[in-house]
């Protein structure tokens, strides 16, 4: 028998939710793939899990080699002391920001298109933060004493230096990781209760019963819940802006030409949202197809995400222009040389122009609705954006450091096998966590979808249409 029953034929729609959805239908289509027994796990899931698990193996081997041998296995050395670990850290954490922005900012702005994509986007955030947070911990050389970064009374009698942007990072990232996890879990509780009440096996009943914490949906509980959720959104929105601003300050408060620039924080935040929406699309497009969610994650969602990607992408391009402008306008010879070396330098000119191709040229088709509503085209553009944003961090981090002040101290940087292994392996960590999420938890917030479906039925386009018809028939008076 088909895994999902009672699903209407899938139709692509330009609305936030296909018309005629009922609460029961939503539960069935979203929760059935979660609640089916292990023997009914779809083949694509096993294939994907096999791939990500292999990459996770590569990741673990790299970590073991790193810990047993030391950070010398990486290509970074003077003058390029920050390289792949920091590039990958910034890249992953930037991806995470789109999830928080979807769930917090779009909630505050009352955007109904947030609802079906927020849950998996928040999951993406958490897993991306896990991937990101591991890089600095691994890069410090002795990961087993990473807790020295936190201020706590200790026998060394020492405290961290609070004037260092790297200490700010520790606070920003750990706050961001824990608050995102809390926001995600609080949002999940009613959905977990739904799973608990439709669970079939004993394992599922115990798992979802324990995780739902005994939620019964009472009106008083909902009142407090909605207030808490709104407060969490209101706190998460400035938090997400602060996190990437802090990461930008790691660069901006230093003296390195190409880093010491006041445009960094807003431009980094825009870049994070840009890369994050690309990842949301990279996950949403296969996901809606695999689960048959085309009527819930509709063309409208893809269209809006693409518009945000275009807007933030153009802000990022503005950042590139401002960087080059200030290199000239500052009159500082090191800044001017940095700009020349970045654009036309013999070693890394290709990185800058590839980044322009990915982040400026590849997104231009998004001006057209036809492109924004063609999933495969969006998927392709999102891959370009992801590569482009990685290259951007490469250009900022590596190219600035190779040739900074004294020509006698110039050097080059070549990543080693282990640099790449740890990067490729981190996709294994992300993918494994994401696939487990898809298998064990609902990818769409069913509770919020029920509210949306109810709202859509009573206040959506159809409702207005029927009121208008009734008006013309003389049954309703204005």
């Amino acid at each position: 028998m088909a895994v999902v029953t009672g699903v209407p034929p899938v139709v692509e729609t330009n609305r936030v939710i296909a018309p005629g959805q009922t609460a029961g239908m939503l539960d069935d289509v979203v929760n059935t793939p979660v609640l089916v027994g292990p023997q009914r796990t779809p083949t694509w899931w096993w294939i994907g899990f096999g791939i990500t698990l292999s990459l996770l193996g590569l990741y673990l081997v790299s970590i073991v080699h790193l810990i047993t041998t030391g950070v010398g296995i990486f290509g970074n050395n003077q003058p390029v002391s920050w390289a792949m670990p920091i590039i990958n850290f910034v890249w992953w954490i930037g991806i995470g920001h789109a999830g928080t922005l979807i769930s917090a900012a779009l909630l505050l702005f009352r955007q109904p298109w947030r609802t079906s994509i927020n849950r998996f986007a928040e999951a993406m955030t958490i897993f991306a933060v896990v991937c990101a947070g591991l890089y600095p911990i691994l890069h410090i050389g002795r990961p087993w004493v990473f807790y020295w970064l936190m201020p706590y009374p200790n026998t060394h009698g020492m405290f961290p230096n609070f004037r260092s942007a790297l200490t700010w990072d520790v606070f920003a990232i750990s706050t961001y990781a824990t608050v995102s996890l809390l926001f995600w879990f609080i949002g999940l509780i009613p959905d977990l209760a739904t799973l608990r009440d439709s669970a079939k096996s004993r394992f599922q009943k115990l798992l979802y019963g324990a995780l739902a914490l005994g939620w019964n949906g009472s009106a008083k509980a909902w009142q407090r819940y909605m207030r808490a959720y709104l407060l969490l959104a209101a706190l998460s929105f400035p938090l997400v802006l602060s996190v990437h601003s802090t990461i930008a300050l790691d660069f901006a408060i230093s003296q390195v030409p190409g880093w010491n620039n006041t445009v960094m924080p807003p431009y980094f935040v825009a870049g994070a949202v840009f890369a994050g929406f690309a990842m949301v699309l990279l996950l949403a497009i296969p996901l809606r197809r695999a689960f048959g969610f085309e009527h819930l994650i509709t063309l409208r969602h893809l269209d809006n995400a693409a518009k945000l990607m275009l807007a933030t992408g153009m802000i990022v391009v503005y950042g590139y222009v401002v960087e080059l402008f200030y290199a000239w306008y500052s009159g500082v010879e090191f800044e001017k040389f940095m700009a020349y070396n970045r654009v036309l330098g013999a070693d890394h000119w290709w990185a800058f122009w590839a980044l322009i191709a990915c982040n400026l040229l590849a997104i231009q088709p998004l001006w057209f609705r036809r492109v924004r509503q063609t999933p495969w085209a969006l998927f392709l553009i999102s891959i370009f954006v992801s590569i482009g944003m990685w290259l951007e961090r490469f250009v900022i981090v590596v190219v600035s450091l190779t040739k900074d002040f004294l020509p006698s101290s110039w050097g080059n940087y070549v990543p080693t096998f282990w640099d790449w292994a740890l990067f490729v392996g981190s996709f294994g960590l992300f993918g494994t966590l994401f696939l487990l999420f898809l298998r064990l938890l609902p990818a769409i917030a069913t509770t919020e979808m029920k509210e949306l479906a109810h709202h859509d039925a009573h206040h959506g386009p159809d409702a207005y249409e029927s009121i208008r018809e009734a008006y013309y028939r003389g049954e309703v008076r204005a």
């Binding site: 539960d27 609070f162 706050t175 019963g209 914490l213 019964n216 949906g217 909902w222 009142q223 938090l239």
Partner: protein
């Protein structure tokens, strides 16, 4: 469960089941006007206006969160001031020890951390969660309450509670069914 055998002493309340949020909203409004005070509605998603219909007081969670946020700001600032000027002063290029601009980021992060965890955990605690058992789960077919069923329960603790009257009242609000809920 023990629905059939529970006497008045083992009774938690009488519950009515509806198919739409509008029905439970109307019923809650009517119950409040009829003078019932100890009651609660159970819905699969938040229903706008239901707290007013039931006569629930607004939540003061916001003030708790504000207070803890301010405490977090003070604590975050104090941590940095104390460590940088008193406990572990670091002379970095002769800059002042109490250089507040560099404290801004961590002060903000600690504010958000404490405020957010207060919002989440106090909400759970005030809702009595985690709670493995609640009498309302004795309602037959209560699985619908997280799917597509809307419930209004008038509790036996209500000063005006009389099982016959309450059942009669709830049956007058056009429910799908009315059940006794054992404690």
């Amino acid at each position: 469960m023990t629905t059939a055998t529970a006497g008045a002493a083992g009774l938690y309340g009488v519950i009515a089941e509806y198919d739409t949020p509008e029905q439970v909203l109307v019923a809650a409004e009517a119950a409040r006007k009829a003078g019932y005070t100890r009651m609660d509605a159970y819905t699969p998603h938040p229903v706008e206006g239901l707290d007013d219909a039931l006569g629930l007081a607004p939540t003061n969670l916001g003030f708790v969160v504000l207070a803890m946020g301010l405490f977090g700001a003070a604590a975050g600032y104090f941590l940095q001031w104390y460590s940088a000027t008193v406990f572990y002063p670091l002379n970095i290029g002769g800059r002042p020890l109490h250089d507040w601009p560099t404290y801004v980021v961590i002060t903000f992060e600690v504010t958000v951390l404490l405020a957010a965890f207060t919002a989440g955990l106090v909400m759970l605690a005030r809702n009595g969660l985690p709670r493995p058992y609640h009498p309302v789960f004795n309602t037959p077919g209560f699985e619908r309450a997280t799917r597509d069923g809307y419930y209004l329960c008038i509790e036996a603790a209500d000063p005006r509670f009389d099982e016959g009257d309450v059942r009669g009242f709830l049956e007058g609000t056009a429910p799908v069914a009315v059940h006794r809920v054992a404690r």
